[in-house]
């Protein structure tokens, strides 16, 4: 694949390995890529809480026609743009990332706790998540019994 054509369009992106790193305008980039290239499936969104405190979101796009993968990566602090209007499957991925990393997606109107109970404090896959026994209580009434 000719990676350079992406960097010509988006001045703020950087190529590292097989991954395109972008700083902002995630929605626009993914819209551009899916409109112009046959990437028809969003395999998954991977979130990683990096050592610098930022959460890296890696969008794994896949083309069932060319059988090629494209990774688009963006670092966010606590808010990101939702791409639910492009890929419906992102609804599930973004909800999972909200639950486990605490990232709020602008444009996703159904963010809720998925694996963790509604009353759960914190987001367990963040590296700054504190594990102590008080968090193992399952409802608000028991939270004081430290």
């Amino acid at each position: 694949m000719d990676w350079n054509k992406f960097s010509e369009v988006f001045a703020n992106c950087e190529l590292r390995g097989s991954k395109i790193l972008i700083k902002s305008r995630l929605h626009d980039v993914i819209k551009f890529v899916t409109d112009n290239y046959p990437y028809d499936i969003l395999k998954e969104i991977i979130a990683i809480h990096n050592r610098d405190g930022m959460v890296e979101l890696v969008y794994n796009l896949y083309s069932t026609v060319d059988e090629e993968s494209l990774l688009i990566s963006v670092c966010v602090k606590d808010e990101a743009e939702s791409i639910v209007d492009i890929f419906k499957s992102a609804e599930a991925d973004e909800n999972e990332i909200y639950d486990l990393f605490g990232i709020k997606f602008k444009g996703h109107d159904n963010l809720k706790r998925l694996y963790m109970p509604e009353c759960w404090d914190g987001h367990p896959l963040r590296k700054d998540y504190v594990q102590d026994d008080t968090r193992l209580c399952w409802n608000d009434d028991n939270n004081d019994n430290a």
Partner: protein, 365 residues
Amino acid sequence: MTTTTTTLKLNLGPQHPSTHGVLRLLLELDGEKILSCEPDIGYLHRGMEKMAEKMSYIQYLPTVDRIDYLAGFFYSELLCRIVEKALEVEIPQKVRAIRVMLLELNRISSHLLWIGMFLMDLGATSPFFYTFREREMILRYFEKISGQRMMYNYFVFGGVRRDIDYLEDVDEILSILPSKLKDYENLIEKNPIFIRRVVNKGILEKETALNYSITGVNLRSSGADFDTRFQDSLYSGFDIGKVILKEKNSMARYRARILEIKESMKIVRQALDYLKKAPALEQKLINPVNMKLPEGDYFADIEAPRGIASCFVRSYGEKEPYRLKWRTGSYYSVNLLRKLLVGEYLNDAIAIAGSLDIILPEVDK
């Protein structure tokens, strides 16, 4: 006097027998018509990804079979593949044949269970016993070689735990299965009640399926030609048949699984023929004690019975992964229910949800 109509909110599950584990669907009904569906998952969450960050790779390996207890080999294979990729270890030809044979047998056993459960969802109880009888032969074989019926822990980094044996059992399975499959077809496919509940129900267009990230059999029964086994280096040299159906409904998803069992049997036969002639296993296993993966991001994916399963690992050269993520097919199938059930009748909800082959431990991870 004026009358007002209100919609009814109905909980389907989490203890409903057809939800295959613990899935709660919050349905909004107008009469018997479904207006909206909101899946509620997480009842079976075990924190597989969080757990990985605290464990070394070899400590984590026995737990990954539990992600999908019906297709455990696939997840062991993924973790082994990540480690082999990172340490640049090539697995011997015989290990490859063993893995392919066991993966395909596992796929057959998983599809057999699905056929039984799907028919049970539709109210027919006897096919459940027949498919479990055939699945039992495969599970007995797995038990003989790995000591376990479902959580095998048989693949290890760089190879398999011990050499393959009891190949005559596989021969027997392959000779018995075709006639049994014919029995299922005679018993199930001509049944008018079955036909009325699956034909023209749960229509899934190819574009919708791709947009919802549906892969595997469900995508192929909507007319897409997409199977990652064709690019998979593990399967190179094996002749794999394509199963693509164009009907897009629940019936197509049922037919596709029957046909896929037949194709898997052909792959098992190829691997079996190779293994019968192969010399004793010579493999160089990776020493898992103090094993560290070099710094970097690693991806691996495989065509599991319920769609593409993949594993991502970011390592900083430590004994534990910095981050490990699983992608499972069922997770996206549950999300699809939001769309697929809208406009259908309540009595079809179970039949449509069942046809997608959702397994909840895989969803909740």
